[in-house]
Amino acid sequence: MVNIRYAKDSFELNENQSVLDCLTGHGVPVPFSCRSGVCQTCLMRATGGTPPEISQHGLKDSLKLQNYFLACVCHPSADLEVALPDDDDIQAVIPATVKSLKLLNAEIMHVVLECHLPIDYRAGQFINLFQNQSLGRSYSLASVPHEDEYLHLHVRRLPQGRVSGWIHEELRPGDTVEIRGPGGDCFYIPGNTEQGLVLIGTGSGLAPLYGIIRDALSQGHTGPIHLFHGSRDLSGLYLTGELHDLVQQYANFNYVPCLSGDDVPHGFAAGRADDVAFQQISNLKNWRMFLCGHPEMVKIAKKKAFMAGASMKDIYVDAFNVSQSS
Protein backbone atom coordinates (compact mmCIF):
# COMPACT_ATOMS: atom_id res chain seq x y z
CA MET A 1 0.00 0.00 0.00
CA VAL A 2 1.30 3.42 -0.98
CA ASN A 3 1.12 6.44 1.27
CA ILE A 4 1.28 10.09 0.30
CA ARG A 5 2.73 12.36 2.96
CA TYR A 6 1.81 16.02 2.81
CA ALA A 7 2.74 18.48 5.56
CA LYS A 8 2.10 16.54 8.76
CA ASP A 9 -0.51 14.19 7.28
CA SER A 10 -0.23 10.82 5.63
CA PHE A 11 -2.89 9.63 3.22
CA GLU A 12 -3.37 6.17 1.81
CA LEU A 13 -3.41 6.11 -1.97
CA ASN A 14 -6.28 4.03 -3.33
CA GLU A 15 -5.82 1.78 -6.32
CA ASN A 16 -5.84 3.70 -9.61
CA GLN A 17 -6.05 6.96 -7.69
CA SER A 18 -3.82 9.88 -8.68
CA VAL A 19 -1.89 11.86 -6.09
CA LEU A 20 -4.11 14.81 -7.04
CA ASP A 21 -7.35 12.96 -6.33
CA CYS A 22 -5.93 11.57 -3.11
CA LEU A 23 -4.92 15.01 -1.82
CA THR A 24 -7.97 16.96 -2.97
CA GLY A 25 -10.14 14.15 -1.57
CA HIS A 26 -8.63 14.91 1.83
CA GLY A 27 -9.16 18.63 1.45
CA VAL A 28 -5.64 19.67 0.44
CA PRO A 29 -6.10 22.72 -1.82
CA VAL A 30 -4.06 21.58 -4.83
CA PRO A 31 -4.97 23.72 -7.86
CA PHE A 32 -5.78 21.78 -11.04
CA SER A 33 -7.40 22.16 -14.43
CA CYS A 34 -7.02 19.59 -17.24
CA ARG A 35 -6.54 16.48 -15.07
CA SER A 36 -4.62 14.87 -17.88
CA GLY A 37 -1.01 15.98 -17.43
CA VAL A 38 -1.13 18.76 -20.00
CA CYS A 39 -1.85 22.13 -18.41
CA GLN A 40 0.65 21.82 -15.50
CA THR A 41 -1.65 23.62 -13.06
CA CYS A 42 -1.27 20.85 -10.44
CA LEU A 43 2.52 21.12 -10.27
CA MET A 44 3.91 19.68 -7.03
CA ARG A 45 7.31 18.69 -5.73
CA ALA A 46 8.45 15.40 -4.22
CA THR A 47 10.51 16.16 -1.11
CA GLY A 48 10.91 12.46 -0.33
CA GLY A 49 10.81 9.56 -2.77
CA THR A 50 11.01 9.74 -6.56
CA PRO A 51 8.04 10.72 -8.71
CA PRO A 52 7.28 8.37 -11.64
CA GLU A 53 8.85 9.54 -14.89
CA ILE A 54 5.49 9.80 -16.63
CA SER A 55 4.32 12.35 -14.06
CA GLN A 56 7.20 14.63 -15.14
CA HIS A 57 6.41 14.47 -18.84
CA GLY A 58 6.49 17.92 -20.46
CA LEU A 59 8.04 19.71 -17.49
CA LYS A 60 10.99 22.05 -17.86
CA ASP A 61 14.21 20.08 -17.27
CA SER A 62 15.18 22.24 -14.31
CA LEU A 63 11.92 21.24 -12.63
CA LYS A 64 12.37 17.55 -13.42
CA LEU A 65 15.80 17.57 -11.82
CA GLN A 66 14.28 18.99 -8.65
CA ASN A 67 11.63 16.24 -8.49
CA TYR A 68 8.70 18.37 -9.54
CA PHE A 69 5.79 16.40 -10.98
CA LEU A 70 2.18 16.70 -12.10
CA ALA A 71 -0.11 15.36 -9.40
CA CYS A 72 -2.99 14.48 -11.75
CA VAL A 73 -0.97 11.88 -13.66
CA CYS A 74 1.12 10.70 -10.72
CA HIS A 75 0.49 7.08 -9.70
CA PRO A 76 3.50 6.18 -7.57
CA SER A 77 4.30 2.59 -6.66
CA ALA A 78 6.18 3.65 -3.52
CA ASP A 79 5.56 6.22 -0.79
CA LEU A 80 5.98 9.84 -1.74
CA GLU A 81 6.42 12.93 0.42
CA VAL A 82 5.03 15.90 -1.44
CA ALA A 83 4.74 19.68 -1.18
CA LEU A 84 3.10 22.44 -3.14
CA PRO A 85 5.61 24.69 -4.95
CA ASP A 86 4.70 27.54 -2.57
CA ASP A 87 5.24 25.58 0.64
CA ASP A 88 8.17 27.28 2.25
CA ASP A 89 9.10 24.93 5.02
CA ILE A 90 10.12 21.95 2.98
CA GLN A 91 13.80 22.27 3.69
CA ALA A 92 15.73 21.89 6.87
CA VAL A 93 17.99 24.55 8.29
CA ILE A 94 21.72 23.88 7.81
CA PRO A 95 24.40 25.55 9.92
CA ALA A 96 27.37 27.01 8.04
CA THR A 97 30.64 28.61 9.09
CA VAL A 98 31.80 31.85 7.52
CA LYS A 99 35.19 31.05 5.94
CA SER A 100 35.96 34.48 4.52
CA LEU A 101 34.53 37.90 3.71
CA LYS A 102 36.05 40.08 1.02
CA LEU A 103 34.75 43.18 -0.74
CA LEU A 104 34.42 42.68 -4.52
CA ASN A 105 33.70 46.38 -5.00
CA ALA A 106 32.50 49.20 -2.75
CA GLU A 107 29.15 47.61 -2.06
CA ILE A 108 29.34 43.89 -2.86
CA MET A 109 30.77 41.40 -0.36
CA HIS A 110 32.09 38.00 -1.37
CA VAL A 111 30.85 35.66 1.36
CA VAL A 112 32.30 32.15 1.58
CA LEU A 113 30.41 29.58 3.67
CA GLU A 114 31.32 26.08 4.74
CA CYS A 115 28.19 23.98 5.32
CA HIS A 116 28.17 21.62 8.28
CA LEU A 117 26.07 19.17 6.25
CA PRO A 118 26.42 18.38 2.55
CA ILE A 119 24.17 20.55 0.42
CA ASP A 120 23.10 19.38 -3.02
CA TYR A 121 22.79 22.44 -5.23
CA ARG A 122 23.30 23.70 -8.76
CA ALA A 123 25.27 26.80 -9.65
CA GLY A 124 22.84 29.70 -10.02
CA GLN A 125 20.34 28.50 -7.43
CA PHE A 126 19.89 30.52 -4.26
CA ILE A 127 19.97 29.85 -0.55
CA ASN A 128 18.30 31.71 2.29
CA LEU A 129 20.71 33.09 4.85
CA PHE A 130 19.30 33.84 8.29
CA GLN A 131 20.41 36.56 10.65
CA ASN A 132 18.04 35.10 13.22
CA GLN A 133 15.08 32.75 13.13
CA SER A 134 12.66 35.23 11.68
CA LEU A 135 14.94 37.31 9.50
CA GLY A 136 16.44 35.80 6.37
CA ARG A 137 17.23 36.83 2.81
CA SER A 138 17.81 34.98 -0.45
CA TYR A 139 21.27 35.08 -2.02
CA SER A 140 22.29 33.45 -5.27
CA LEU A 141 25.12 30.95 -5.41
CA ALA A 142 28.15 31.97 -7.48
CA SER A 143 30.02 28.78 -6.62
CA VAL A 144 30.01 25.59 -8.67
CA PRO A 145 29.62 22.19 -6.98
CA HIS A 146 32.69 19.96 -7.58
CA GLU A 147 34.73 23.03 -8.60
CA ASP A 148 34.47 25.11 -5.45
CA GLU A 149 34.87 23.64 -2.01
CA TYR A 150 32.56 26.14 -0.33
CA LEU A 151 29.44 28.18 -1.09
CA HIS A 152 30.07 31.63 -2.57
CA LEU A 153 27.63 34.53 -2.32
CA HIS A 154 27.82 38.10 -3.62
CA VAL A 155 25.95 40.24 -1.11
CA ARG A 156 25.18 43.77 -2.17
CA ARG A 157 24.72 46.20 0.66
CA LEU A 158 21.25 47.75 0.37
CA PRO A 159 20.37 51.11 1.86
CA GLN A 160 18.70 50.30 5.18
CA GLY A 161 19.14 46.60 4.39
CA ARG A 162 18.98 44.77 7.69
CA VAL A 163 20.52 41.48 6.64
CA SER A 164 22.96 42.90 4.09
CA GLY A 165 24.02 45.58 6.60
CA TRP A 166 24.62 42.88 9.21
CA ILE A 167 26.65 40.80 6.72
CA HIS A 168 28.77 43.78 5.72
CA GLU A 169 29.37 45.19 9.17
CA GLU A 170 28.98 42.59 11.85
CA LEU A 171 29.61 39.17 10.36
CA ARG A 172 33.13 37.84 10.92
CA PRO A 173 35.05 34.81 9.64
CA GLY A 174 34.50 31.92 12.04
CA ASP A 175 30.91 32.92 12.82
CA THR A 176 28.22 30.30 12.35
CA VAL A 177 25.06 31.21 10.45
CA GLU A 178 21.98 29.25 9.43
CA ILE A 179 21.00 28.70 5.83
CA ARG A 180 18.16 26.95 4.08
CA GLY A 181 17.97 25.80 0.50
CA PRO A 182 18.81 25.55 -2.25
CA GLY A 183 15.90 26.89 -4.31
CA GLY A 184 15.24 28.38 -7.69
CA ASP A 185 15.28 27.00 -11.21
CA CYS A 186 17.74 29.38 -12.83
CA PHE A 187 20.65 27.05 -13.57
CA TYR A 188 22.50 25.31 -16.41
CA ILE A 189 21.06 22.03 -17.59
CA PRO A 190 23.57 19.68 -19.18
CA GLY A 191 22.82 18.70 -22.74
CA ASN A 192 22.22 20.55 -26.00
CA THR A 193 25.86 21.59 -25.69
CA GLU A 194 25.91 23.47 -29.01
CA GLN A 195 23.08 25.83 -28.07
CA GLY A 196 24.06 29.49 -27.72
CA LEU A 197 23.73 31.00 -24.25
CA VAL A 198 23.04 34.65 -23.53
CA LEU A 199 23.43 35.79 -19.93
CA ILE A 200 22.36 39.26 -18.86
CA GLY A 201 22.93 40.55 -15.34
CA THR A 202 22.95 43.80 -13.43
CA GLY A 203 24.86 44.46 -10.22
CA SER A 204 25.18 41.38 -8.01
CA GLY A 205 23.03 39.56 -10.57
CA LEU A 206 26.47 38.49 -11.76
CA ALA A 207 26.61 35.97 -8.88
CA PRO A 208 24.33 33.28 -10.35
CA LEU A 209 25.63 33.99 -13.86
CA TYR A 210 29.26 33.54 -12.81
CA GLY A 211 28.30 30.16 -11.37
CA ILE A 212 26.21 29.16 -14.40
CA ILE A 213 28.96 30.12 -16.89
CA ARG A 214 31.67 28.17 -15.08
CA ASP A 215 29.28 25.25 -14.65
CA ALA A 216 28.46 25.21 -18.39
CA LEU A 217 32.14 25.49 -19.37
CA SER A 218 33.22 22.74 -16.98
CA GLN A 219 30.48 20.48 -18.33
CA GLY A 220 31.84 20.93 -21.83
CA HIS A 221 29.38 23.39 -23.33
CA THR A 222 30.65 24.13 -26.84
CA GLY A 223 28.09 26.69 -28.09
CA PRO A 224 28.78 30.42 -27.84
CA ILE A 225 28.34 31.89 -24.36
CA HIS A 226 27.79 35.65 -24.18
CA LEU A 227 27.81 37.45 -20.84
CA PHE A 228 26.51 41.03 -20.61
CA HIS A 229 27.13 42.48 -17.17
CA GLY A 230 25.84 45.96 -16.56
CA SER A 231 26.22 48.75 -14.07
CA ARG A 232 25.87 52.51 -14.11
CA ASP A 233 29.56 53.20 -13.76
CA LEU A 234 32.89 51.42 -13.61
CA SER A 235 32.88 51.06 -9.83
CA GLY A 236 29.76 48.85 -10.00
CA LEU A 237 31.43 46.15 -12.11
CA TYR A 238 33.49 43.41 -10.46
CA LEU A 239 35.28 40.13 -11.21
CA THR A 240 36.38 41.77 -14.47
CA GLY A 241 39.88 40.24 -14.20
CA GLU A 242 38.50 36.74 -13.61
CA LEU A 243 36.05 37.09 -16.49
CA HIS A 244 38.75 38.34 -18.88
CA ASP A 245 40.83 35.32 -17.82
CA LEU A 246 37.91 33.03 -18.75
CA VAL A 247 37.74 34.71 -22.16
CA GLN A 248 41.44 33.89 -22.66
CA GLN A 249 40.85 30.33 -21.56
CA TYR A 250 37.69 29.51 -23.55
CA ALA A 251 37.27 30.49 -27.19
CA ASN A 252 33.47 30.20 -26.99
CA PHE A 253 33.11 32.60 -24.04
CA ASN A 254 32.54 36.31 -24.65
CA TYR A 255 32.34 38.95 -21.90
CA VAL A 256 30.75 42.36 -22.52
CA PRO A 257 30.92 44.77 -19.57
CA CYS A 258 28.25 47.46 -20.06
CA LEU A 259 28.03 50.92 -18.53
CA SER A 260 24.80 52.89 -18.61
CA GLY A 261 26.30 56.11 -17.19
CA ASP A 262 27.98 58.91 -19.14
CA ASP A 263 31.59 57.87 -18.67
CA VAL A 264 32.29 54.85 -20.88
CA PRO A 265 36.01 54.10 -21.27
CA HIS A 266 37.44 52.08 -24.15
CA GLY A 267 36.71 48.35 -23.79
CA PHE A 268 33.22 48.81 -22.37
CA ALA A 269 29.87 48.88 -24.15
CA ALA A 270 27.73 51.99 -23.70
CA GLY A 271 24.17 51.38 -22.57
CA ARG A 272 22.16 49.11 -20.33
CA ALA A 273 23.22 45.47 -20.40
CA ASP A 274 19.90 44.24 -21.79
CA ASP A 275 19.83 46.88 -24.55
CA VAL A 276 23.41 46.09 -25.56
CA ALA A 277 22.65 42.36 -25.61
CA PHE A 278 19.56 42.68 -27.79
CA GLN A 279 21.42 45.01 -30.18
CA GLN A 280 24.28 42.57 -30.59
CA ILE A 281 22.11 39.44 -30.87
CA SER A 282 18.83 40.45 -32.46
CA ASN A 283 17.42 37.03 -33.33
CA LEU A 284 17.20 34.83 -30.24
CA LYS A 285 15.46 31.84 -31.79
CA ASN A 286 16.99 28.68 -30.30
CA TRP A 287 19.10 30.59 -27.77
CA ARG A 288 19.05 29.83 -24.05
CA MET A 289 18.66 32.94 -21.90
CA PHE A 290 19.66 33.66 -18.31
CA LEU A 291 18.44 36.97 -16.83
CA CYS A 292 19.45 37.95 -13.32
CA GLY A 293 19.39 41.02 -11.13
CA HIS A 294 17.17 44.09 -11.03
CA PRO A 295 13.52 42.91 -11.18
CA GLU A 296 12.49 45.57 -13.70
CA MET A 297 15.38 44.68 -16.03
CA VAL A 298 14.54 40.98 -15.71
CA LYS A 299 10.87 41.58 -16.51
CA ILE A 300 11.55 43.75 -19.54
CA ALA A 301 14.37 41.55 -20.84
CA LYS A 302 12.24 38.43 -20.48
CA LYS A 303 9.54 39.86 -22.68
CA LYS A 304 12.07 41.21 -25.19
CA ALA A 305 13.87 37.87 -25.34
CA PHE A 306 10.61 36.04 -25.94
CA MET A 307 9.50 38.48 -28.63
CA ALA A 308 12.95 38.18 -30.25
CA GLY A 309 12.36 34.48 -30.73
CA ALA A 310 13.55 32.77 -27.55
CA SER A 311 11.20 30.01 -26.45
CA MET A 312 9.59 30.43 -23.01
CA LYS A 313 11.11 27.14 -21.88
CA ASP A 314 14.58 28.44 -22.74
CA ILE A 315 14.34 31.58 -20.60
CA TYR A 316 15.67 31.26 -17.05
CA VAL A 317 15.33 34.19 -14.67
CA ASP A 318 16.32 35.20 -11.18
CA ALA A 319 14.81 38.55 -10.20
CA PHE A 320 16.40 40.08 -7.12
CA ASN A 321 13.29 41.38 -5.42
CA VAL A 322 14.05 43.62 -2.49
CA SER A 323 12.19 42.63 0.63
CA GLN A 324 9.50 45.12 1.58
CA SER A 325 10.49 44.96 5.23
CA SER A 326 14.12 45.62 4.16
Binding site: C34, S36, M312
Partner: protein, 124 residues
Protein backbone atom coordinates in the same frame (compact mmCIF):
# COMPACT_ATOMS: atom_id res chain seq x y z
CA UNK B 1 -9.17 5.06 -39.70
CA UNK B 2 -8.72 8.77 -40.08
CA UNK B 3 -12.47 9.34 -39.62
CA UNK B 4 -12.14 8.10 -36.06
CA UNK B 5 -9.35 10.46 -35.10
CA UNK B 6 -10.42 13.26 -32.78
CA UNK B 7 -9.77 16.89 -33.67
CA UNK B 8 -7.01 16.93 -31.05
CA UNK B 9 -5.30 13.94 -32.69
CA UNK B 10 -5.69 15.33 -36.19
CA UNK B 11 -3.99 18.57 -35.19
CA UNK B 12 -1.12 16.68 -33.60
CA UNK B 13 -2.02 16.41 -29.92
CA UNK B 14 0.15 17.72 -27.15
CA UNK B 15 3.13 18.24 -29.46
CA UNK B 16 1.00 20.63 -31.52
CA UNK B 17 0.02 22.52 -28.38
CA UNK B 18 3.69 22.83 -27.44
CA UNK B 19 4.57 24.07 -30.91
CA UNK B 20 1.68 26.53 -30.92
CA UNK B 21 1.97 28.08 -27.46
CA UNK B 22 5.04 30.27 -28.06
CA UNK B 23 3.81 31.37 -31.49
CA UNK B 24 0.31 32.15 -30.23
CA UNK B 25 1.52 34.00 -27.12
CA UNK B 26 3.95 36.05 -29.23
CA UNK B 27 1.14 37.01 -31.61
CA UNK B 28 -1.14 38.02 -28.76
CA UNK B 29 1.57 40.15 -27.12
CA UNK B 30 2.35 41.96 -30.36
CA UNK B 31 -1.31 42.49 -31.27
CA UNK B 32 -2.02 46.15 -30.45
CA UNK B 33 -5.73 45.45 -30.16
CA UNK B 34 -5.28 43.21 -27.09
CA UNK B 35 -1.69 43.45 -25.84
CA UNK B 36 -2.65 45.98 -23.13
CA UNK B 37 -4.62 43.27 -21.32
CA UNK B 38 -1.38 41.31 -20.88
CA UNK B 39 0.71 44.16 -19.42
CA UNK B 40 2.39 43.24 -16.18
CA UNK B 41 1.20 39.65 -16.00
CA UNK B 42 3.55 36.85 -14.96
CA UNK B 43 4.69 35.43 -18.29
CA UNK B 44 5.21 31.86 -17.08
CA UNK B 45 1.77 31.68 -15.51
CA UNK B 46 0.26 33.26 -18.60
CA UNK B 47 2.03 30.78 -20.88
CA UNK B 48 0.61 27.94 -18.76
CA UNK B 49 -2.87 29.44 -19.16
CA UNK B 50 -2.36 29.79 -22.91
CA UNK B 51 -1.37 26.15 -22.96
CA UNK B 52 -4.54 24.97 -21.27
CA UNK B 53 -6.62 27.28 -23.47
CA UNK B 54 -5.00 25.91 -26.63
CA UNK B 55 -5.46 22.34 -25.40
CA UNK B 56 -9.16 23.03 -25.00
CA UNK B 57 -9.49 24.87 -28.31
CA UNK B 58 -7.70 22.02 -30.11
CA UNK B 59 -10.34 19.65 -28.77
CA UNK B 60 -8.02 18.13 -26.18
CA UNK B 61 -8.62 17.06 -22.60
CA UNK B 62 -9.62 19.89 -20.31
CA UNK B 63 -11.64 20.71 -17.30
CA UNK B 64 -12.81 24.20 -18.21
CA UNK B 65 -16.29 25.21 -17.17
CA UNK B 66 -18.25 28.24 -18.21
CA UNK B 67 -17.89 29.48 -14.66
CA UNK B 68 -14.06 29.27 -14.85
CA UNK B 69 -14.21 31.36 -18.01
CA UNK B 70 -16.43 33.96 -16.35
CA UNK B 71 -14.36 34.20 -13.18
CA UNK B 72 -11.06 34.18 -15.07
CA UNK B 73 -12.02 37.10 -17.29
CA UNK B 74 -14.27 39.17 -15.01
CA UNK B 75 -11.45 41.60 -14.12
CA UNK B 76 -10.75 42.10 -17.83
CA UNK B 77 -14.43 42.70 -18.66
CA UNK B 78 -14.30 45.45 -16.05
CA UNK B 79 -11.37 46.92 -17.96
CA UNK B 80 -13.38 46.97 -21.17
CA UNK B 81 -12.92 43.51 -22.70
CA UNK B 82 -15.47 43.19 -25.52
CA UNK B 83 -16.35 41.30 -28.70
CA UNK B 84 -13.62 42.97 -30.74
CA UNK B 85 -10.98 41.56 -28.39
CA UNK B 86 -12.39 38.04 -28.60
CA UNK B 87 -12.34 38.42 -32.40
CA UNK B 88 -8.67 39.37 -32.22
CA UNK B 89 -7.79 36.31 -30.12
CA UNK B 90 -9.62 33.96 -32.49
CA UNK B 91 -7.85 35.61 -35.43
CA UNK B 92 -4.45 35.17 -33.76
CA UNK B 93 -5.33 31.56 -33.04
CA UNK B 94 -6.09 30.96 -36.72
CA UNK B 95 -2.88 32.68 -37.81
CA UNK B 96 -0.90 30.50 -35.39
CA UNK B 97 -2.35 27.32 -36.85
CA UNK B 98 -1.77 28.53 -40.41
CA UNK B 99 1.87 29.09 -39.50
CA UNK B 100 1.98 25.45 -38.36
CA UNK B 101 0.45 24.34 -41.69
CA UNK B 102 -2.81 23.14 -40.16
CA UNK B 103 -5.59 22.83 -42.77
CA UNK B 104 -8.39 25.39 -43.00
CA UNK B 105 -11.10 22.83 -42.15
CA UNK B 106 -9.42 22.04 -38.84
CA UNK B 107 -8.78 25.72 -38.15
CA UNK B 108 -12.50 26.34 -38.57
CA UNK B 109 -13.27 23.65 -35.99
CA UNK B 110 -10.78 25.16 -33.53
CA UNK B 111 -12.27 28.60 -34.09
CA UNK B 112 -15.73 27.19 -33.41
CA UNK B 113 -14.62 25.77 -30.05
CA UNK B 114 -13.00 29.09 -29.11
CA UNK B 115 -16.16 30.87 -30.30
CA UNK B 116 -18.27 28.73 -27.95
CA UNK B 117 -16.60 30.37 -24.95
CA UNK B 118 -17.32 33.93 -26.10
CA UNK B 119 -20.38 34.62 -23.93
CA UNK B 120 -18.80 33.15 -20.83
CA UNK B 121 -15.55 35.08 -21.39
CA UNK B 122 -17.50 38.30 -21.79
CA UNK B 123 -19.69 37.54 -18.79
CA UNK B 124 -22.99 37.52 -20.68
Amino acid sequence: MSEQLSLFEKIGGEAAVDAAVDIFYRKVLSDDRISAFFEGVDMDKQAAKQKSFLTMAFGGPHNYTGLDMRLGHAHLVERGLNDSHVDAVIEDLGATLRELNVGEDLIAQVAAIAESTRNDVLGR
